[in-house]
C-alpha cells in the first residue's frame, strides 16, 4: 500500500504545483517556496509524520518535506533543550540533503559546461 499512497501523494503534490503554474503567474520559485511553508505548517499540525508513515518515500520526496524536516528537527530539539533548541536543532535532519546538493552543484559546475 505504501507504493500506491506514495504514488498518489507525490503525484498529487506535483499535480497541484502544475495547476498553480499553469493557471496563475507564479513561477516555480514561488510555488516551491509556498510548498515549503505548507510542509512546515503541516508538521506543526502533526499531519506530516502520519503522511510519512503511510506514504513512505512518496512523502519525503516532494519539497514539502524540506519544511517538515526543518520544523520537526527544531521542535524535537526544543523539547529536550528548551527554546534555544529551535535554533540549534533547525538543521539536524535536512543538513545531509542541503549539504549534499550544494556539494554536487559545485562539482557539476566545475566539471560540466552549460549546454543549449
Amino acid at each position: 500500500m505504501t507504493y500506491l499512497y506514495g504514488f498518489l501523494f507525490c503525484g498529487g503534490c506535483a499535480l497541484a504545483g502544475q495547476m498553480i503554474y499553469d493557471n496563475t503567474k507564479l513561477t516555480p520559485g514561488h510555488i516551491t517556496s509556498l510548498f515549503v511553508v505548507i510542509g512546515s505548517l503541516l508538521e506543526c499540525l502533526n499531519v506530516y509524520d502520519f503522511l510519512i508513515r503511510i506514504c513512505g518515500i512518496g512523502a519525503t520526496l516532494p519539497i514539502l518535506s524540506f519544511g517538515h524536516s526543518l520544523t520537526h528537527a527544531s521542535l524535537s530539539a526544543a523539547q529536550n533543550e528548551g527554546w534555544i533548541g529551535i535554533l540549534t536543532g533547525l538543521f539536524d535532519k535536512t543538513a545531509s540533503g542541503i549539504s549534499f546538493a550544494i556539494f554536487m552543484a559545485f562539482w557539476v559546475a566545475i566539471f560540466f559546461k552549460a549546454h543549449d
Binding site: Y21, K25, T27, P28, A114, H115, D116
Partner: protein, 326 residues
Amino acid sequence: MTTLQFKNVYVKSENVIVGKLEKEGPLGSYFDDYTCDPYLNQPSFEQAEIEMNRLCVDKCLKKGKAETVDLIYAGDLINQLCTHYLASELKAPFVGLYGACSNSALTIGHAAMAVEHLHMKHVLAFTSSHTQAAERQFRYPNEYGVQKKECSTSTVTASGAVLLSNEFSDLKVTSFTIGSVVDWQFSDVNDMGKAMAPAAYQTIMTHFEDLGRTFDDYDLIVSGDLGKIGYAMLSEMIEKARFQLENKLNDCGIMIYDINHQDVFCGGSGCGCSMAVLLGKLFKDLRSKKMKRILLVATGSLHNVFLTQQKLSIPSVAHAICIERS
C-alpha cells in the same frame, strides 16, 4: 512628422550568420553562414555572440569591398551591449543603440540617416541575438528545468550586418519611421507579442499617414517578432481600422521557424530575428524581382528584469524601414 525620407541611400552588401535551429527552419537555404556550435569555440555564450558578430561584420565588409567604414551603428540584447567589445577592434566611430528586438530597423534607419544627411560614404549597421545568452539575461539559467509557457517565444541565434553607402546599387533604403514608445499595461513577460502588437500598429499607421500610403503601395509588410499571438492580434487591429490585408502582412518570428514542427512555441524573437529575415530572405526576394517595395516594422519590448519584478508593465516600441528595388 516622424518619417524620414531618403533619396540616395543604397545597400552595398549584407551578411547573415544563423544558428542550427534557424538553419533547419524553412528559410535555412537563404542564410549565408550557419553555426552548429552555440559556443563558436569560445568559453561562454556572451563571447560566442561577440565572435558571431565579428565573423559576420568581417564577411560583410569583405563582400562590400570597403576598406574603412565612416560610422557604425550596432546593438544587441545583452546588458551594456556586448557589441562594444567588438567595437574597439573595428577602428571607426561607433554608436551603440538599444531598442531590444527593434534594433534591426533602428540601426539600419540611423545608418541611412548618416549616409543621407551626414554625407558619409560607408556606414555599417549590425545587430545580433543569441538564444542561450538572452535566456540567461532575461529568463532562467539554460539548464534550469522549467516548463516554458506556450505563449512565449524563443530567441533567434543570428547576427546580421549591412553596409549602406551613397553609391548606386540595386537596393535602396527609402524611409525610416521612428516609433514612439507605448505602454498599454501588458505585464506578462512570457507573452511579449501582445505587448508589442499595439506598438507595431501605431508605427504602421503613422507611416501610412506621413507618406499617404496604404497596403496597396507595398508588396509585403513584415512585423519584427510578434509571434503567433501577437501577429493575430495585429491583424485584427489592422482589419478593424478598415484596411485590406490581402496576405500582405507577415511576421519574421513566424517566417523564420516552422512553428508547427520546431520546438519554438509561438515563434522567434530577438533582434537577430528580423535582421536575418530581412537580409536573408527579403533582400533576395527584392533582388529577384519578386517584390518591389517592402516595409519592416521591427518591434521591441523594452522591459527591464528588475522593473518587471517590481510589477511595472512592459513598454514597447516599433520602428519601420522601407526598402525598395531601385
